[in-house]
């Protein structure tokens, strides 16, 4: 048997999908390693959901190759993926536990095990008292948490979460983030698909940014961020700011100023200089653009 840990959780190679003349996914490739959180990022209509549906074998790509844990797509690979669709929904007329058990059994989990796993998970999110309630009796947020439990009940090695935080209140958002990090700790691969780029920034290890079906950015989040750095620092201070060597420009932002560096002087030097000048520094931050800003920059450049 192959060492599963060594395999990438998902491998997508040159996938193309078009509907009529409209190419929805155009030659997209990426790999997701085990134990990482991978951001699939792009605006609405970029082709994220179509890519995911192809990974789930719900729709077939026109060309290209998809492998899950080293295997090409089959009924078995479906059992190893947990999928939280963007369009949420559960059976309204049956109880929470019945829903969990039935949907888990369709993922190949034996019925009794499915029930006990279901109870375990409900306990984890403090919803065990609701297990005999029908989904229609629960609040929207609770329903979403149940839906998330459906995604992880069969202990999948790869999780695909499409807009997982949409419509969640802050408390449940935190709960969900906590569980996601917990799962990463267990070595699961997690794909977060979202158009709210800033929301997942803190979570992702690597990202794939797509727009209009094409890859625009792909790689380590930290690396991408440093690549798109403006080479400036944010400064909030008390006192008088004199000329600083290495600073070529200055922009007032009200509360703080942005200092543009010449590209050779490291930010550390600026801070040292300020300290020696006796300026009281309230905030000193190397500016890193948000994913939103990076996206806008990349798209601008592409035009």
């Amino acid at each position: 048997m192959k060492d599963e840990r060594a395999l990438s959780a998902a491998e997508v190679n040159n996938v193309i999908k078009s509907y009529g003349n409209n190419t929805v996914v155009n030659d997209v490739s990426f790999t997701v390693a085990q134990g990482e959180i991978f951001g699939l990022i792009g605006p609405n209509g970029a082709g994220k959901t179509t890519t995911i549906r192809m990974m789930m074998d719900i729709i077939k790509p026109d060309s290209g190759d998809i492998r899950i844990l080293g295997e090409s797509l089959s009924e078995d690979t479906k059992n190893r993926i947990g999928y939280l669709p963007e369009e949420r929904g559960l059976y309204k007329k049956i109880t929470v536990l019945q829903s969990l058990a039935y949907l888990a059994s369709l993922k190949g989990i034996e019925a009794r095990l499915a029930r006990s796993r279901g109870e375990e998970l409900l306990k984890r999110v403090d919803m065990l008292p609701h297990k005999e309630k029908k989904v229609e009796e629960l609040s929207r947020g609770m329903g979403q948490i149940i839906q998330f439990l459906v995604t992880i009940i069969h202990d999948p090695q790869l999780l695909i979460l499409d807009e997982p935080f949409a419509g969640l209140d802050p408390v449940n958002t935190e709960l969900l983030k906590e569980i996601i990090l917990e799962l990463r700790g267990q070595g699961k691969a997690i794909i977060l698909s979202t158009h709210r780029m800033n929301e997942v920034e803190a979570l992702c290890d690597r990202i794939l940014m797509i727009n209009e079906g094409r890859t625009v950015l792909y790689g380590e989040l930290a690396e991408i961020k440093s690549r798109y750095r403006n080479n400036s620092v944010f400064l909030e201070f008390d006192g008088v700011l004199s000329e600083i060597e290495g600073v070529v420009g200055k922009k007032e932002h009200g509360e703080y100023v942005e200092l543009f560096l010449d590209g050779e002087t490291p930010p550390q030097r600026i801070l040292e200089h300020l300290a020696s000048q006796g300026v009281r520094v309230n905030r000193f931050e190397v500016s890193t653009p948000s994913l939103n800003e990076i996206f806008l920059q990349v798209v601008e450049k592409g035009r």
């Binding site: 549906r53 789930m56 929904g89 559960l90 059976y91 949907l103 993922k107």
Partner: protein, 409 residues
């Protein structure tokens, strides 16, 4: 376990637990049971008049010929008492000596009109009284004209008994008539009702899963083919349970009714191949509707939208009902034969014909073959439509798009 079987079990379990299903399944046998019970109860309390009871009827003979046969035997025994004038008869009636009287007018032989006077308010003259008066008149009229035996026969000249012979000249087991029609016709109706409710559940289930987006989760666990197969078979199995309960209770109830009630119920017959045909047609027609309904369910934007589309399929199935009177009288007409062949109208038509003139074997075989071909064609269609449109939410594809996707698939 196989995922198709899991879906089958789930759908089956969900349907047979619904109130509608339980009520529908038990309602028909229970109603029939109650009807038979009430019937035999009424028959029990409606006791025949006590033997030896006598009724005295007065009459005024204005012709002058009616004087004999004043004792009419029967239940009750009727005694006729002659009076000279209507006034005398009226006072005898008011005094309670007679219960009623009638006047035979002088022109009776020409007109045949007899006027009857009574104190009772009644719907129509009681049969025994009518029979007694008729017998009294006839006996007096034919007095001396013919033998007493002929007179008796003239009172009831026809007791028509029809016997159907089969090809060999032997008395046929299936004697036809309303007794033979009633069970197949009722079962034909029930069959259609069950087919519609089963395939309707399929349609509604798909619509709901589309609406509440469970569809996407299901398709991320099973293939569209597994989902379709599991659903069709699961709901079909539930419908089959219903139909078998109905068929068996029909057989049981008819036997019971014919022994407890007698009369018309004892003439009710159940065709030999009835159970088998009932089950075969349920399965085939259900499958035919189910695959088409599944396609409609995939295309429709939501449950309500699908329901409207499905009317296109359901309406034609009732055609045999619209023309029921015609088809009952002309079961072998060319239109009846054609409707037996069309999958949508076949179930009702087959049972209408089964209850009237019967269906030649070759027609049954042809009808079943066409149904099977229809199912296979429907499956091919459904498989294509299903995958393409199942995840399209909120809008129904235009006809052009559907045709295009069928060609591309």
């Amino acid at each position: 376990m196989n995922k198709t079987i899991l879906i089958l079990k789930h759908e089956f379990g969900q349907v047979i637990k619904t109130k509608t299903f339980i009520i529908m399944t038990l309602a028909f046998p229970l109603l029939a049971l109650i009807a038979i019970g009430i019937f035999s109860f009424i028959q029990g309390i409606e006791k025949p008049p006590a033997p030896g009871e006598e009724v005295t009827i007065g009459y005024v003979d204005e012709v002058g010929n009616f004087s004999g046969y004043t004792e009419q035997p029967g239940e009750p025994t009727v005694t006729l008492m002659g009076y000279d004038t209507p006034e005398e008869a009226t006072s005898a009636l008011l005094a309670g000596e007679i219960s009623q009287y009638f006047i035979i007018p002088s022109d009776y032989v020409d007109t045949g009109v007899v006027t009857r006077y009574t104190l009772e308010r009644e719907l129509e003259p009681p049969g025994e009284i009518r029979w007694a008066i008729k017998s009294f008149l006839l006996s007096n009229l034919l007095e001396g004209q013919t033998s007493p035996e002929v007179t008796e026969r003239a009172k009831a000249p026809l007791g028509l008994l029809t016997i159907r012979l089969d090809e060999t000249g032997e008395v046929a087991t299936d004697q036809g008539g309303f007794g033979a029609l009633i069970v197949p016709l009722a079962v034909g109706f029930l069959l259609i009702i069950s087919i519609f409710s089963s395939s309707g559940s399929l349609l509604q289930g798909l619509g709901e899963e589309k609406e509440n987006r469970v569809m996407e989760i299901l398709l991320s666990s099973v293939s569209a083919r597994q989902l379709l197969t599991g659903k069709v078979l699961g709901l079909g199995a539930a419908g089959l349970v219903q139909v078998v309960i109905w068929l068996l209770s029909a057989v049981f109830l008819v036997r019971w009714a014919s022994t407890t009630i007698g009369g018309f119920p004892s003439t009710i017959q159940i065709p030999d191949n009835f159970l088998v045909l009932g089950i075969v047609y349920f399965i085939l027609v259900y499958l035919f509707f189910a695959v088409l309904m599944a396609s409609i369910g995939a295309i429709g934007a939501n449950a309500r939208d699908s329901q409207q589309l499905s009317m296109l399929l359901i309406m034609p199935a009732w055609i045999p009902l619209w023309g029921l009177f015609f088809f009952l009288n002309n079961p072998d007409h060319v239109v009846s034969r054609i409707l037996t062949m069309i999958p949508v109208t076949a179930p009702l038509m087959v049972f209408v014909r089964l209850g009237t003139s019967g269906i030649p074997t070759w027609e049954l075989v042809l009808s079943i073959s066409i149904l099977i071909a229809g199912i296979i064609g429907g499956l091919v269609l459904a498989a294509k439509v299903f995958r393409t449109f199942l995840l399209m939410y909120g809008k129904r594809p235009r006809l052009g798009e559907i045709i295009k996707s069928l060609r591309e698939a």
